[in-house]
């Protein structure tokens, strides 16, 4: 195989129509999808030999820890940097994540994911109006559970594969629920757990999840998202029942 065939779903702007464009690139060993996009940027000529605008995409770390280069590769949401050409069937198809507003070509606006994190207060509140000193100590077993969830890079693959997560819907998605659990498990972060349960009960909250369990299958960091969703469903359900009598 001397050439690599690449089909890219392109779009010139947020409201422009999308179209497919084919590229033929010389084969080299050990390429990843990002290097193909870099080759196009260097010489933006499509398979018909026409000069075109370079394909717009986002990438950063190139080692599957930042989540910026998430796109749909051969029908599956994943990172372009860890998608190795030698392991992909050809023609390789690249599409933007369609659960997020498209900015241009493969570049999407994933800010909905970060808004979801602010909704569930995915942080640890430290200090108030004065220095509160050291926080409580944590057990190693608890840290080990938290570690799994701390690997989330908000890449959007779980949301892209989720049938309940839509472009215009208000579901916060699996990643934010995993982060809510992460910070609830943190000894200091757990102070905000009531706020997080409330946020998960709000419209677009946890119970939009219909247990299709695609998220756990597509998560590149293999985060046990389905057990986070189930754990939070348990906690929120009890919190809601308790609220009826306590509040």
């Amino acid at each position: 195989m001397s050439t690599i065939t690449l089909k890219i779903k392109r779009q010139d702007g947020p409201n422009s129509p999308s179209y497919w464009e084919e590229f033929a690139l010389p084969y080299k060993e050990n390429l990843n999808v990002i290097s193909l996009l870099q080759m196009i940027a260097l010489n933006p000529v499509n398979a018909k030999g026409e000069k075109v605008t370079p394909v717009v995409y986002e990438s950063n770390c190139l080692e599957e820890v930042c989540g910026a280069c998430s796109m749909v590769i051969n029908g599956r949401a994943r990172q372009a940097c860890s998608a190795l050409v030698d392991q992909l069937s050809q023609p390789i198809t690249l599409e933007p994540l369609n659960k997020f507003p498209i900015v241009r070509d493969l570049l999407v606006d994933r800010s909905a994911l970060f808004k979801a994190l602010t909704k569930v207060k995915a942080w640890v509140d430290i200090d108030g109006i004065y220095d509160m000193g050291f926080g409580p100590k944590d057990y190693e077993a608890n840290q080990a559970i938290r570690y799994d969830f701390s690997r989330c890079m908000t890449c959007g693959c779980c949301a892209q594969s989720c049938p309940n997560y839509t472009l215009n819907g208000d579901f916060i998605g699996p990643a934010a629920v995993g982060q809510a659990l992460l910070f609830n498990l943190h000894p200091t972060g757990s102070q905000l757990r009531g706020d997080r349960y409330e946020a998960l009960m709000a419209p677009g909250g946890l119970f939009e999840c219909g247990n299709s369990q695609n998220c756990v299958r597509t998560c590149p960091k293999e985060i046990p998202l389905t057990s986070a969703l189930a754990k939070m469903k348990q906690k929120v359900t009890w919190y809601a029942i308790k609220s009826i009598f306590v509040k």
Partner: protein, 223 residues
């Protein structure tokens, strides 16, 4: 609490999940066992149905335990179906297919129940004889027999897969191993339930000419 957002949707979704199990799933089990009485003998079943009809306040029980939960579960279910974007061709996993089939079976059951309730429960008169005769007639008509078999497959699947979802939504199944194991249990339950339903259906289908004649005489005499 900082944000005060409406909890209505949360409450409706929880009620939708709850009503699927209690009372609807429990009612369905009762419905199955009650109809399985025909396996003892058609005469015994006839007497049993007539006894059931004498329960005081039956209409209130039907309204509270069957109709209202059914309407809530069905309408909220249709809303959930319409807000989803199914993708099992791109992500062809067992659970993703089950997710789609849960929605398809739900819609089929919705249509079936309208037909079933209108023809059997509110068919003509309320007599047990008419009910048995019309079921027998429906099962002996090819298109409605096929509709019943499809509906029975859908109901058995919807209940068993729904039980799995219910167990997650109410925090009974948390771990991934537990979810997987209970998934297998639900497949076994589905097969058992479907076979049981089909057996009951066969008993209505294969009523002897003598029994049908007796029922017909009872029907024209207004029993």
């Amino acid at each position: 609490m900082s944000q005060k957002e409406s909890k209505l949707e949360f409450a409706l979704r929880k009620l939708q999940s709850l009503s699927g199990f209690l009372p609807l799933c429990v009612f369905l089990m009762f419905h199955l066992v009650a109809n399985a009485v025909i396996m003892i003998s058609p005469g015994y079943y006839y007497k049993f149905i007539n006894t059931m009809a004498t329960i005081p306040g039956l209409i209130v029980i039907e309204l509270v335990i069957i109709f209202l939960p059914l309407i809530l579960h069905g309408c909220m279910g249709l809303y959930i179906v319409l807000t989803g974007r199914n993708n099992p061709r791109r992500y062809p996993y067992f659970r993703n297919w089950a997710f789609l089939l849960q929605r398809i079976s739900g819609v089929v059951i919705f249509a079936f129940l309208i037909y079933h309730v209108l023809t059997i429960k509110y068919g003509s008169d309320h007599s047990a004889a008419t009910m048995i005769l019309s079921l027998n007639a429906q099962f002996n008509t090819t298109w409605s027999a096929i509709f019943y078999v499809i509906a029975l497959i859908c109901v058995s699947f919807h209940v068993c897969n729904g039980l799995w979802g219910f167990a997650i939504n109410w925090g009974i199944l948390v771990g991934m191993r537990a979810q997987k194991v209970f998934g297998y249990v639900c497949i076994v339950l589905f097969i058992i339930l479907l076979i049981f339903w089909l057996f009951v259906m066969m008993n209505f289908l294969g009523l002897s000419d003598g029994v049908l004649k007796d029922l017909f005489i009872l029907q024209i005499n207004g029993f």
